[in-house]
Symmetry: C2
């Protein structure tokens, strides 16, 4: 299995991306890790490694897509960027999966145009892992789609369920539809209709879940439009930073608190780890003809390495094949 | 000024509501507090008080709207509930404001039908306070409206701005539109159009804000549709509970951590206080001909008492008059 890493994507690229690639190659010796990007920059980073793993290679891509570059422009002008090269490689079967912490919009644009949608899938969705009181849950979509239609949400439920079952190995995952009340009649026009459609799929649909149920871990898979998913995802990111600000604000007011923080450090670290996106290994773009895992722009080497593992599971477990099969049987009669 | 309290509304009613009323009356001697509900039950609670304040009275309402009763049914069948009686009293000018921790849907239904909308307001909205790294911000709508139109969001911005300026005393509040990116072109169809309309209002519109900006306190007022606002509000409520679960999970694994928790207790309490809805005194329903403040169902006496203070500020500062004035000048040319 060959997994490509966008060496140029992310706030800490290429240092973090190359480090992640090296770690992934070391930890998963059966995978071939391919670093894609400006070769000279990658080589510079690799020179820092004592002994670069043998299952790690470099593919040159001369152009670089900037983090804030408009996706449409990147698509038109940067065909030889790491994103362009990786997409072609995957399209031609020379790569099984691709990881990027770069410009999310551009990654989606290249993937959708270069790889296309899986048969039967109306709209691909980004599925992310969120922490819960008991472990994690999968939330989708978190930003690939705005203004979703009911059929899209129903399909997200199907894709999220299959990803969770096969890639995460969770039996019979419970799928919840994010809304403002538990009753099937509660919600906006989109969710009320999507609720109805979800009952007609083969997923283990548990009905609506509310904002408070996500972290409580009521559902294994939480389905929502990309607008609300994206807002929540970013909101969650800020919780940790608010907690830090709050602790800092008060802790220096007393010696007692300072001693407490010192003693609590392992607990705080564990909690921070619970909320830490780096642990979760990126968010797959489900529903495309290929495997693309999107990482946070701030991803460290560890985050990249964990994303490689997610990509490996998706490929190994044939998640895409299973999505295609399920979609072929899914007759929801909507457009 | 006469402020009514729904003595029968909320999970801890009438104990918490009567307690809140007593505290409010004690703290704000110039206000007349009116407890509305089943008189015998209220008297029972009042009997626990050593010396009930003189500026506290009771108005009997024989019927009770249950927490999970369908609002339409309550509206039809419970005209003599605390909600029905209070709404009539306010409509007839015998009450200046009303606080309820009861069935939110029913409170809205009674208020909208019994009091009506302020002239020029298309849709009333619930405005809630959320904690930020520096203090608080106002988020609206958090559930009165689903499937909002752009004009509604623009009006929420205006109402939220006036409430924040006058009732909270914050000069020139910055209004942000919740979306998935900072650029004006980022967002779903609703927010992109609402962005345009907000630039034409008189509010200090700072553009789009993202999910991560809410707790960071980037905006004083965050505008969104009631669906996403409600999801976020409930999500935030669960953060505290997750933190507790996480701390409990790890803390008993070591003596060191237990000692740390003991020492940190004041800091944790402060953080918990930052996240605590009780501190914020309920959420006004803005845009109606009257003043109604909605409290969380779990409200304690303190929460009720703080809500009375918010209601008092809204009335005293003439927030409704200012909204009416502003709406009269607002020509957005949309329906």
């Amino acid at each position: 299995m060959r997994i490509g890493i966008d060496a140029m994507g992310g706030d800490h690229a290429p240092t973090a991306t190359v480090r992640g690639g090296v770690e992934a190659a070391q930890l998963m010796p059966k995978i071939e890790v391919v670093l894609i990007g400006v070769e000279s920059r990658i080589r510079e980073e690799l020179a820092k490694e004592k002994k670069p793993p043998k299952n790690l290679s470099v593919v040159h891509a001369p152009e670089v897509v900037e983090m804030d570059e408009p996706p449409a422009q990147a698509l038109r002008k940067k065909r030889d960027s790491s994103l362009g090269v990786a997409t072609r490689m995957q399209h031609e079967g020379r790569l099984d999966a691709f990881i990027s912490a770069g410009n999310t919009g551009a990654v989606m644009a290249f993937s959708l145009t270069g790889l296309g949608r899986l048969e039967g899938v109306e709209r691909p969705a980004i599925a992310t892992l969120m922490p819960t009181e008991h472990g994690t849950c999968v939330v989708l979509d978190v930003g690939a789609n705005l203004d979703s239609k009911p059929i899209h949400l129903a399909q997200f439920g199907v894709m999220g369920s299959l990803f969770t079952k096969y890639a995460l190995g969770r039996e019979n995952p419970k799928v919840g539809l994010l809304s403002v009340g538990e009753e099937s009649t509660k919600g906006d026009a989109l969710t009320v209709r999507a609720h109805e459609l979800l009952t007609r799929t083969n997923v283990h649909f548990m009905g609506n879940v509310e904002g408070k149920d996500i972290l409580k871990g009521k559902a294994d898979v939480v389905v929502c439009d990309g607008f609300v998913g994206n807002v929540i995802l970013k909101f969650l990111e800020s919780v940790m930073s608010m907690m830090e600000a709050s602790i800092l604000k008060y802790v220096y007011t007393s010696l007692r608190a300072r001693a407490g923080v010192f003693l609590m450090r392992p607990v705080i670290r564990r909690f921070a780890k619970d909320l830490d996106y780096e642990e979760y290994g990126g968010a797959p773009l489900l529903g495309i003809r290929g495997t693309v895992v999107i990482c946070h722009g701030r991803s460290s080497g560890k985050a990249i390495r964990n994303a490689v593992r997610v990509a490996q599971r998706v490929v190994e477990q044939g998640v895409n094949e299973r999505i295609k099969e399920e979609m072929a049987h899914l007759k929801l009669g909507e457009v």
